[in-house]
Symmetry: C2
Subunit: 258 residues, 2 copies
C-alpha cells in the first residue's frame, strides 16, 4: 500500500530540483531494476507488485532494502512509463567526481545536450563502445532525469557523467589530448587518423557545438553523407547518431592497426 | 479562431485509425512546416498565429492553402509539442507504392520498429546517407504518427516508406540482392565487404529481427563494441544507431573503393 507521502516523493523526483534536494532518483521496470540491483548503487525503497516480489528478483545481499508492496493501480499513479512494469525503485544519486584525463582513453564531452532520450542513448552507446567517462557542460540535461535513466537501458549505472564548466575542462585537457569536434565543415571522419586517446565533443541538438567550445576543438571532423546513388538530403545527423558513428570509427581503426 | 470541429479533427489525428480514415496528418513548428511547404505534399489547412502569418513563410505557389489564424492558447490546446511554435499544418497523406528493388541501390527494411522517436530518427539518418527507399513490416509504427514526423526533421517528406508483408518482400528480393541483417552474432561490420547495393534489415528494439525474417538474411553482420581500453558493456545498440553505423560503413567503403 502506497502512502500519500511516498506517492508525493516519487512524483516529485520527476523534477531536477527535488532530485537534488533529496539526492534520489527513480528507476522503473523489471529489466532496469535488475540492472540497478546488479550495480553498486544504494537503493532506498522498492515499490513492487506481488508478482515482482514473489518472482525472486532480489539478490540475497540486498536484504536491507525497504520493499513496499503496491498494486497495479498504485504503480500506474506514480509511474513515468506509458506501460508500467511491476516495479519502481527509488535509489540514491551518486555524484561523479572531477577527474583528470589519462593519456590512453577516449572521453566523451557533451556540450548542452538537452533531450533526455538523446542523452540516454548517448550514454548507452558510449557504454557499448567501452567509453568509461563522460564530461558534460552544466547546461546538459541531468542524467538522473527518469527519461534519461530509462533510455540509457542501465548504462547510467556504469558510466559516470561529470558535470562541470566544459570550457575550463577543455582548456586544461587540450594541453595533453587531441580534442575532436563533430562539426559540419571538418575533415571527413573516415580519413581522420584517430589514435588511442582523445576527447570527442558532441554539441547541442539544435545549435551544435557552441562558439566558445569550438575554439578549443583541435580537430574538426565531419561525418560525410551519401551512399551509392545519391547525396544525402537531411540537414544534419542526430547527436546520438554522431556519437555512435564516431565511436564505431575509433573502434574500426583500432582493429585495423592491431 | 479555432472551431470545435477543427480542434477535434486535429487532436483525432494523433491516432492511426483517424489518420487512415481522414487521409490526413499533422506537422508542427516553423521549421517543420517550412519543410512541408518546400515538399510536394498537399496541405489541407494551416493553423497559425498572427506572428507566423505576417512572417512571410508562405511561398506564392501555395496560395490555395486554407489558413486559419489562431492564438497561442488555441495552438497549445491542439499541439502535440511541449513547446508549441507558431504553426500547425494538416496535410494529406501520400501512400507509398509497391516497388521492385533495382540493382544499384541500398534499401532499408524495418522489421517491427515500434518507437516513434526511433522511427523518425531512422528516416532522418537514411536521408542523411542518401538512402531513397524504405520498406517496413506492417507491424512497424506509422510514419504519419506526429512523433515520427517531428523526429524525422522533415525527412518523411523525402523518403517514401512502403508498408508491406516484409517476409514476402524479402523472399522475392533475396533472389537478386544480398540481404544484410544487423544481428549480435554475425561477421564484424568493418570486415564485411559491402557492395554498391543491398538490403539492410533493422529489427525491433526489444526482440531484434524476427526468426522468420532472419531466415531470409543472407549476411549476418555485427557492430563490434569496444574502443581502446575496455570491452563495451551495454547489452545492445539502439536500432537507429545500428542503422546509422551501417550506413556510415557503406559510405566509407564506397569512398575507399573509388
Amino acid at each position: 500500500m502506497l502512502s500519500r507521502n511516498q506517492s508525493k516523493l516519487i512524483t516529485s523526483l520527476r523534477l531536477s530540483k527535488f532530485r537534488q534536494e533529496e539526492g534520489l532518483f527513480v528507476v522503473e521496470g523489471v529489466k532496469m531494476v535488475n540492472e540497478l540491483l546488479a550495480s553498486d548503487f544504494a537503493i532506498k525503497t522498492i515499490y513492487a507488485t506481488h508478482e515482482w516480489i514473489s518472482g525472486g528478483h532480489l539478490p540475497p545481499h540486498r536484504y536491507l532494502v525497504e520493499i513496499v508492496e503496491i498494486n497495479d493501480a498504485e504503480l500506474e499513479k506514480v509511474s513515468n512509463l506509458t506501460t508500467p512494469n511491476q516495479v519502481l525503485a527509488v535509489a540514491f544519486i551518486k555524484q561523479s567526481k572531477a577527474f583528470k584525463c589519462s593519456d590512453n582513453e577516449w572521453i566523451l564531452a557533451l556540450d548542452q545536450i538537452r533531450d533526455p532520450g538523446n542523452m540516454g542513448t548517448i550514454i548507452r552507446t558510449a557504454d557499448w563502445f567501452g567509453i568509461q567517462r563522460i564530461v558534460a557542460s552544466t547546461g546538459t540535461v541531468d542524467i538522473w532525469n527518469p527519461k534519461v535513466v530509462q533510455a540509457s537501458m542501465g548504462s547510467v549505472f556504469r558510466i559516470p557523467v561529470y558535470y562541470t564548466d566544459l570550457d575550463l575542462f577543455l582548456q586544461e585537457a587540450v594541453k595533453h589530448l587531441p580534442v575532436y569536434g563533430a562539426l559540419l565543415d571538418g575533415e571527413p571522419l573516415s580519413s581522420a587518423d584517430l589514435g588511442k586517446h582523445g576527447i570527442l565533443v558532441i554539441g547541442n541538438e539544435s545549435h551544435g557545438i557552441s562558439k566558445q567550445i569550438q575554439s578549443l576543438v583541435s580537430h574538426r571532423i565531419t561525418i560525410p553523407s551519401a551512399i551509392p546513388g545519391e547525396q544525402g538530403r537531411a540537414e544534419s545527423l542526430n547527436a546520438s547518431l554522431a556519437t555512435g558513428i564516431f565511436c564505431y570509427e575509433i573502434s574500426r581503426q583500432r582493429q585495423q592497426n592491431k
